[in-house]
């Protein structure tokens, strides 16, 4: 398990990946079944080599092999075992290896689950995945080798930023990367379809589960990252419109659009060209996000190893992947046949609108993120684009999206009439009106009021949709249950995901009303915030394994009743000469009480402490909603009809290439 073995395994994986990129695709072109049949084996071989390589790095981290530069720079003997393992992907080199590993898993997954795919299509999809993986593995081997040695090996490593030693952050990267990389599969399907010159309903069915799965991971990854910054960074914020965050939001938005447009391809064979473009675009955004963050072009609070030389390699890779796929798209897409016709008012029409709005938001976020460096390059002028811009530019586009989310799923395919659908939504509409009245009284600010109202509309109409499909309250409960059993799970999944969006939006809207106070108090002093009485009762010094902690005790009472006792603390790490704050959060599901202890002032005999107290209404709903969204996606995935490989491309012969 030496680092050299790891590097060898990585090189081997690269060879497998190159073979995987060339042979099956050649086979598909020449209709050589033997060459095509090589695809699954090569994908599996690549995966095994990658796993071996990754395990070598993990092994080096666990055994404190500080002769490996990457371990030396990011680990130390005293680091807990969990963070030794998760620290492997907490740095540039390791995270690229993780990228490659996940790509390898995707390739093997297509090989394993895609048995029912036409062999040419499968060969091409696996081939494209192999090509992308080869690029990343070459990148890893040439400019970001995680196995580089140092001589002589020091006795201890330089350690890891204490801030990053957190379970939330430890698992954030793998989940997020699975989301990013997962979109490589729809991308590969799109490229394969362009090579074949054929996109049909079956293609839509094959692509959708992969898109949904990647989307679920990306949703969880984004939510986890945002939650981490909420409970670790200690100033009550959860989203900063930072380029690094935007780099994940952009593919999420286009991926959401992709998931929806793939439905239209599957059901109606329409929007085919557009869906192929979205599949290419989503993965391109995932790739470019990584590139931009790592090249140092974008200004970001999240410091990452930044190196322009690496940037040039990734740029070349991007040029190849994105440029190549767009060229192929421009060449082949126009010859794809137009699909089924539909009227503007129809399920398809509503999904088109969904795509227009999602892609507009995506374009705004993309433009806002990229504007500063372009402005600086073109005009030599510096500007900043931050939260005030993004809030003002995206929310007005999101509100119509929320409105259409309400009744879009209830419109019939092909041709629909609006009025009957709206009539069915009268309960949801009443609830929305009531919500509007409540929010006008309870919330301040136009956008929070509108967003909270829309959130109720989304939840209400999604529930109405499901109730309508089950004929709830119209037939007996037993009959409804019978209907529920026969209703496809993807219908429940979609409604659940929409409810998740509503829950998140409600959380975001109400969270905008958060209150906070910064106070300087003596022990025993009472402060009031949001109807709660916060009393600092004690501050003591507690030694930790490699730090000293100043632990406060704050009692919180509401109308005289003790609600909770919280212990926010402040840790001083002498080794890194750094302090971290440990936020204390008490949640009752509806709101968070959030306490932070700051500096100590005044004489030792009677010191005062700075406290930062937050009242965050509906804060947990923001992440809870994301979880519901991901659960909705997972529920859809469990639908038998969505299961990979289930559908067959029946009416047309298997291998038909238009080359």
């Amino acid at each position: 398990m030496s680092p050299e073995l790891g590097r060898f395994a990585l090189a081997l994986a690269c060879v497998f990946a190159l073979a995987q990129a060339i042979l099956p695709v050649m086979g598909a072109r020449k209709r050589d079944r033997r060459l095509m049949a090589l695809a699954p084996g090569l994908a599996l071989g690549q995966l095994i080599a990658l796993v071996a390589s990754f395990l070598c790095l993990v092994n080096a981290a666990i055994t404190n092999d500080f002769s490996v530069a990457n371990i030396l720079e990011n680990s130390s003997v005293t680091k807990p075992l969990l963070y030794k393992i998760t620290g492997v992907w907490g740095n540039h080199e390791g995270s690229i290896l993780l990228w490659a590993l996940i790509l390898g898993i995707c390739g093997a997954a297509v090989a394993a689950f895609g048995r029912n795919l036409p062999s040419a299509l499968r060969a091409r999809v696996i081939g494209v995945l192999g090509g992308v993986a080869a690029g990343f593995e070459l990148f890893c081997l040439t400019t970001s080798d995680p196995f580089d040695r140092v001589w002589p090996a020091p006795l201890d490593g330089q350690g890891m930023n204490p801030l990053l030693q957190d379970p939330g952050l430890a698992f954030h990267p793998p989940i997020l990367y699975t989301g990013y990389v997962g979109f490589a599969v729809p991308f590969a399907f799109a490229i394969a379809a362009l090579m074949e010159g054929r996109v049909d309903a079956a293609w839509g069915r094959w692509v959708r589960p992969w898109a949904v799965a990647a989307w679920c991971f990306l949703t969880c990854g984004i939510a986890l990252g945002s939650w981490w910054s909420y409970y670790v960074l200690g100033w009550g914020g959860y989203w900063f419109w930072d380029p690094v965050e935007n780099a994940s939001l952009i593919p999420w938005l286009s991926g959401t659009a992709l998931m929806h447009s793939a439905i239209v391809v599957e059901k109606r064979e329409a929007l085919k060209i557009w869906t192929v473009l979205l599949a290419i675009g989503t993965f391109s955004f995932s790739l470019s996000g990584t590139f931009l963050v790592r090249s140092g072009i974008l200004n970001s609070v999240h410091a990452f190893a930044q190196d322009p030389a690496r940037g040039i390699f990734i740029l070349a890779l991007l040029g190849l992947v994105i440029g190549g796929s767009l060229a192929l798209f421009a060449w082949r897409a126009p010859s794809l046949t137009a699909g089924g016709l539909f009227a503007p008012v129809s399920r398809e029409g509503s999904l088109v609108l969904n795509n227009i709005l999602l892609c507009s938001i995506c374009a705004v976020v993309l433009t806002g993120t990229m504007y500063p460096p372009f402005m600086s390059l073109l005009f030599g002028r510096t500007i900043s684009v931050g939260k005030p811009f993004f809030d003002a530019a995206t929310i007005p586009l999101a509100i119509p999206l929320f409105i259409f989310m309400g009744f879009g799923p209830m419109l019939p395919w092909k041709r629909a009439q609006l009025w009957p659908v709206l009539k069915r939504l009268w309960v949801a509409a009443l609830a929305t009106l009531a919500a509007f009245a409540v929010t006008v009284i309870g919330l301040s600010g136009v956008l929070p009021i509108l967003c909270a109202t829309m959130a109720v509309w989304i939840i209400g109409s999604s529930l109405t949709d499901i109730a309508g499909r089950l004929a709830l309250f119209r037939v007996s409960l037993a009959q409804s249950l019978q209907r529920a059993k026969s209703l496809p799970r993807s219908a429940f999944g979609a409604a659940l995901a929409h409810i998740g969006v509503g829950v998140s939006v409600l959380g975001l809207a109400v969270m905008s009303q958060a209150q906070h106070r910064i106070v300087e108090v003596h022990v025993g002093q009472k402060e009031e915030l949001a109807g709660y009485e916060w009393t600092l009762t004690d501050v003591r010094t507690v030694p930790g394994p490699n730090y000293m902690a100043m632990v406060a005790t704050i009692e919180i009472r509401h109308n005289g009743h003790l609600v909770t006792v919280m212990h926010p603390s402040k840790r001083s790490f002498n080794a890194q000469n750094q302090t971290t704050t440990e936020v204390s959060i008490h949640t009752n599901g509806l709101s968070d009480l959030y306490g932070v202890i700051g500096d100590k002032h005044g004489p030792e005999s009677n010191p005062t402490y700075v406290l930062r107290l937050h009242y965050n209404p509906l804060a947990p709903w923001m992440w809870f909603g994301a979880l519901i969204m991901a659960m909705g996606g997972a529920l859809s995935l469990s639908d038998r009809r969505m299961r990979v490989g289930a559908p067959r491309r029946a009416p047309v012969p298997d291998v038909v290439a238009a080359e």
Binding site: T337, C359, S384, K387, P388, T580, V596
Partner: protein
């Protein structure tokens, strides 16, 4: 230069943990209305050291100084625009988190409308073309049609 900025970024990453925005209650203005105004101005101004954070969120020393300056100006009864102009005169548009609308930022500010317009226009165009020109029959279909016609 790169070394300096690298050092500063490190400060920023660890900064939130060392202290946080408005970490000194004495910074706050006694008049709650003025304090709210100051916070609203601060949320519009970017911390120059820690990228992308507003000075209200940032814990960098310079952000703290800028917060004090904002509060001094607000206490003097200046309007929000005056305070922002004062800052822009010293640090340029970089300090504004939402850039001013100029010819150079027209594309940025116009993007929401432009994207929406492109989307809607192309959707309408495609709808129009589809409904106006039904897709021509393929040769196979034409052959089948002739066959059917001949049968009659």
């Amino acid at each position: 230069m790169f070394r300096l900025k690298a050092a500063l970024l490190l400060v920023c990453l660890s900064a939130p943990v060392m202290a946080w925005a408005v970490d000194d209650p004495s910074e706050m203005l006694p008049d709650p209305k003025q304090e709210r105004q100051a916070e609203a101005i601060g949320a519009q101004l970017r911390c120059l050291v820690c990228q992308n954070e507003s000075i209200e969120d940032s814990s960098a020393g310079l952000a703290r100084d800028l917060r004090k300056v904002v509060r001094e100006h607000v206490a003097r009864g200046e309007s929000s625009q005056q305070v922002i102009d004062w800052m822009v005169a010293r640090y340029g548009n970089f300090i504004r988190l939402s850039p001013p609308v100029t010819i150079a930022t027209l594309l940025l500010w116009g993007m929401p409308v432009l994207a929406l317009l492109i989307g809607i226009v192309s959707a309408i165009m495609i709808f129009h073309r589809r409904t106006a020109m039904p897709t021509p029959l393929t040769e196979a279909e034409q052959a089948r049609l002739r066959e059917l016609a001949d049968d009659r």
